[in-house]
Symmetry: C2
Subunit: 661 residues, 2 copies
């Protein structure tokens, strides 16, 4: 992989005098300091010299030129990455790999005023489980909304493994609009996945538990513990999940893992891999084997094949029972009616990825050396013919492994997830071997392995989960970064490596540290599919999409209205003052601040922070916020605009006084 | 600024065939899609072609090569940036400008397990004001600890403008160890600044209020509202602020703004600029002028000159009063004893920056066109000679402006902050004009202006606040980014622009979007000054620095101990299981989980999440955590490792059962 740079390459006198002086500082600064180095190389030099002074190879230069995005030019793609246990979503540009935004989703985020006294509090409050407020999540799998199997750039869905929840992010303003708690399960993993037209957001459970989370001793694991596949009905018009129209399919207590929805010919079907069909529950304190070994005994676990269109019909036909207010199709019914069918999966299965043409499902194996390719047509035929080799203890029919697969691909030790390009190649992440394995869907042969740094978990490709992947880029989502970046203490960043897949050989272009959360999965969409707004309608409440009834559209309409111990403040914000800027209440009063930004210009953002009261909202142009709190601490408290909104931004302030009883 | 690349530059056949095919996709994808484009340009091409295909100029290529840091090579400098109203600190590498870490400081951060049931809860709880838990901050000014006026890489201090607090971050593990609430003020701004040997962390108030925050009507503003300069004593041995040994200096109700500590010859002194000596309090609802105009009437506000060494002595001598348990040197004493002296500052002053040699203080003016350079020797002489032109209404002596200054520099409209290089140049951020102005400290003439994008607030230079700045890099911290990046909704990222200052002309190398919080100030330190650890001592509690008394150093020592309704779980974590992995308690029990990571390898991190209980801690190698909560919800709840710690990480789980009453 050589790329020769002739001596003839002279990078203009003056400029390169500078360039090289600058670059050489990095080598010489230790001994001599920048001054000594400056101009050391005279007034003219070559790119080669600049490369030498920075210790860059020719491949580095090419990678630099391929990933550099000048200010004023946007990126080509946008990545939406799960923030893992940060509870958030990370937005990253490609090819620059710059973090463009952290979207507050499950965890409060004060910069966005998300969860600090304003309207967004309702979104977070709706995410309570068992009546308990939960202020974090373990976000695993983001999925973009699709139309006809292609990303449409309208919505993003993510799941919370730790608390069994799903969130809806609106991509017109990049704001989280809804969090839906699952009333049945205590964790999820396979989700959030959408069907090709986003009729449903699919969430499948991970660690089995009694449905509804009622107490049952572990001795009842096999009898009373269960998994579920949730089908959350998505109302695209409202941009919200419609809980009433949603339903669940009960599953055996095999630890369900990852899921994917069928597409094209397999639309109407869903697939979930699983592990721990041994139903191991550990017991390490008593000297029993931990789950990691207990769950690795069987040579085969089960791929779950779900006919969700049929499940939907059966639920309509009244075949569902109701648990915690949620319609659940019982396991018995699913087994009998062909809604759920199982087929073997080798050696600690992981990953479950439907090919772009919808004809196959690829499953890895953490302790296997193969990726197994299941043929949908074969499985469909076996199910239609009721040709099974038996049933499990829950009455679920089991297909014959060999009859259900298209074949197995020799990959390497520990294949996990698989993504696809536009040329018929698949790319599988191989954790133990720390490589990306490229293989041909056509002949199911591995053609190349690219070492990555280090311990790749998920892998992602440009528009890779659609019916028409773009190819060009793959991102290795590496779990460890040891020696890749400057040290920032014992908690290391993850490492996204952008891989150029356009050539005969894969090439790593850039290492991108992820210094917040542990991304699991992510998706990459072409920039031009996104149509974000730059301002809200005057007085718009982003959570209703309408002008708020309490909006104050003119400064002259600002007022303070007292009713007994309730004080309603109708307030405006515009460069660089608030009306009113003096508010006095009595200790114990309930205070409602109805605050509208009168700005309309792009990027002209204000904030409203009320000192000591844990109140902070962000006011993008046109936005209206309703803030409510009890004035329970007497004294003098400033409020101010948290944004550097003008030269006199520090003067955009006022006083909130609470008169003691 | 041309840099010519000769045709002779051929970047090796095969590779560049790839390179160009890849690059050309970006142009052609829209019309034809990647396939059409691939290989379109054949098997060989030049860097020039790659540049053309990506629309890069030669300056872009040079910038790309100067900022690209290959994986496996660290950055040269590290930026510690305030996270603004995210409440956190951002760690960024230079020259790559990659975000390496978001450090949880004032806001809970679940990835780091910061504020989710473990030991760190105590740090956040200590930050309560008026007995109220506060879960965010408006972080403005980070300051690195110094020894003899140079960064020593040991600690970072930041202030919270919204709630009057200061935090201490330990740079051995990049963890927040202490949050100290200021009992006197309702907001701060000038801080956290350290003196040259970090004896004190200095925090100065912003919006005046009655000291101790007691209620006083706004009509009492002039009589009862005050500012303060807090001098928090730092105990370097303990790595904590010693509140007992700290003191405050009472200030007039002029809105104090930014502060800086003297160095070398001016060590022992502190300087604070101010605005709103008019003491305007708005009244917009009653049609009175807002503060932005009320505070802009006077031609001059006051630079505050504080002899803190003398203040320290007077406090020792018992001249301080006590408010809310804090020693406060009264304004009257400060005025009489020469602790506080004032001198005029033109036109809405902003910024307050001591030159590296300690001989001068530079102050900008938001509505001025000059930066004013105050001469410390002249001011010291006037103070020693008691040569004043009068006193303010609070009895504070005022120096003559002309007698106190070295001169004024014609900068441009709206100069704010000033930083310094190693060659005698100063760089001032100019907000309204949106430029960086470079000027000579020697002859006080502006030599160059660089347009930035857009509306620069703070500016920062490599080791720029030390007695020996490095030069080489300046960072323009721009407040607006309008058209600089791909759109992410109405809330735009800030824009850090890395500026190369080594040449005859300044050059912007790269735009870095800041997609979380609004950074105010930041500091940049040479990487080799930082000595972060990669693991804790076995069983170490990071908040005590010692092996925790409840640490479990061997799996065989794991146990569950019940005493009445209290259950103590002594637990271990190592790839890939917990001991114990089954915990059953009764509804209402108090549960204490004492959890130790038995790992020691670099980057081998585990997590512990307890579903539905809002419990989540991060377990870096060796770390011990103590978790306490009430088991108030009956049912079955999994717990699991939140990190992808091994191929079988999903199996690193267990069950927490709560038996109903």
């Amino acid at each position: 992989m050589q790329l020769s740079i002739g001596k003839a390459l002279v990078m203009g006198g003056a400029v390169l005098g500078v360039a090289v002086a600058a670059a050489s500082c990095e080598n010489k600064a230790e001994q001599k300091g920048p001054q000594a180095a400056s101009g050391a190389l005279g007034a003219s030099a070559s790119l080669k010299q600049l490369m030498d002074s920075r210790g860059l190879s020719e491949a580095d230069v090419e990678a630099a030129v391929k990933t550099y995005v000048p200010g004023g030019k946007g990126d080509e793609y946008m990545i939406f990455a799960s923030g893992g246990h940060s509870g958030q979503v990370l937005v990253i540009g490609v090819p620059s790999m710059r973090l463009l935004k952290v979207i507050g989703v499950f965890s409060p985020e004060p910069w966005q005023g998300y969860g600090y006294g304003g309207e967004s509090d309702k979104v977070l409050a709706a995410g309570a489980q068992n009546g308990k407020k939960i202020s974090w999540a373990d976000v695993h799998h983001p999925n973009l909304s699709e139309t006809k199997g292609d990303y449409d750039g309208q919505f993003l869905f993510v799941n919370d493994k730790a608390n069994g929840r799903v969130a809806v992010v609106d991509l017109t303003d990049f704001v989280t609009k809804q969090i839906v708690p699952n009333p049945l399960v205590a964790s999820d993993h396979g989700g959030a996945f959408v069907d090709p037209n986003t009729e449903y957001v699919i969430e499948t459970s991970q660690y089995p538990a009694p449905l509804g989370r009622a107490y049952e001793p572990l001795s009842e694991y096999k009898n009373k513990y269960r998994g579920v596949a949730m089908f959350w009905k998505f109302d695209r018009q409202k941009g919200r999940i419609d809980v009433e129209k949603s339903f669940a399919v009960e599953l055996p207590p095999y630890t369900q893992d990852l899921a994917d929805a069928g597409k094209l010919g397999s639309d109407g079907w869903a697939f979930i891999n699983s592990f721990n069909t041994e139903m191991a529950i550990g017991g390490t304190l008593e000297g029993k084997p931990p789950i990691e070994s207990g769950a690795s005994k069987n040579d085969m676990d089960y791929l779950h094949v779900i006919n969700w269109k049929k499940a939907e019909q059966l639920v309509k036909d009244g075949k569902a029972t109701t648990i915690k207010g949620m319609k659940v199709l019982p396991l018995k019914v699913s087994g009998e009616e062909g809604v759920l069918t199982l087929v073997g999966e080798p050696k600690s299965p992981h990953g479950c990825d439907v090919t772009p043409d919808g004809t196959a499902v690829v499953v890895g194996g953490k302790l296997d050396t193969h990726a197994t390719v299941y043929d949908f047509a074969k499985m469909k035929a076996l199910i239609d013919q009721k040709k099974f080799e038996g049933k499990d203890d829950y009455g679920v029919p089991i297909m014959n492994f060999k009859e259900a697969i298209r074949g197995q691909v020799e990959i390497g030790l520990g294949p996990l997830h698989t993504v696809f390009d536009d040329k018929g190649f698949a790319y599988t992440s191989v954790f133990i071997e720390s490589v990306v394995a490229k293989w041909s869907l056509k002949d199911m042969k591995t053609v190349e392995k690219l070492p990555v740094h280090y311990n790749i978990g998920h892998i992602m490709a440009a528009e890779g989960d659609t019916v028409s992947p773009d190819g060009k880029y793959v991102v290795a989502m590496n779990k460890m970064s040891m020696d890749r970046f400057s040290k920032v203490g014992p908690l290391y960043p993850q490492n996204f490596q952008l891989v150029d897949t356009t050539g005969d050989q894969m090439r790593i272009l850039i290492d991108a540290p992820i210094g917040i959360g542990e991304p699991h999965y992510s998706q990459m969409i072409k920039i031009d599919k996104l149509k974000p707004i730059s301002a809200y309608k005057p007085g718009e409440n982003p959570y209703t999409g309408h002008v708020d009834p309490n909006a104050v559209l003119k400064e002259k309409d600002a007022k303070i209205v007292r009713n007994g111990t309730t004080v309603d403040v109708y307030m405006t914000a515009i460069r660089s003052h608030f009306v009113p800027d003096q508010i006095e209440v009595n200790e114990g009063d309930t205070v409602n601040i109805h605050l509208t930004s009168l700005e309309s210009a792009e990027d002209q953002v204000h904030g409203f922070a009320l000192n000591m009261y844990n109140v902070n909202v962000s006011l993008e142009p046109g936005k209206h916020e309703n803030i409510s709190f009890k004035a329970d601490v007497p004294g003098v408290f400033p409020f101010f605009c948290t944004e550097f909104c003008s030269a006199l931004h520090l003067e955009m302030a006022g006083y909130f006084l609470v008169k003691p009883k």
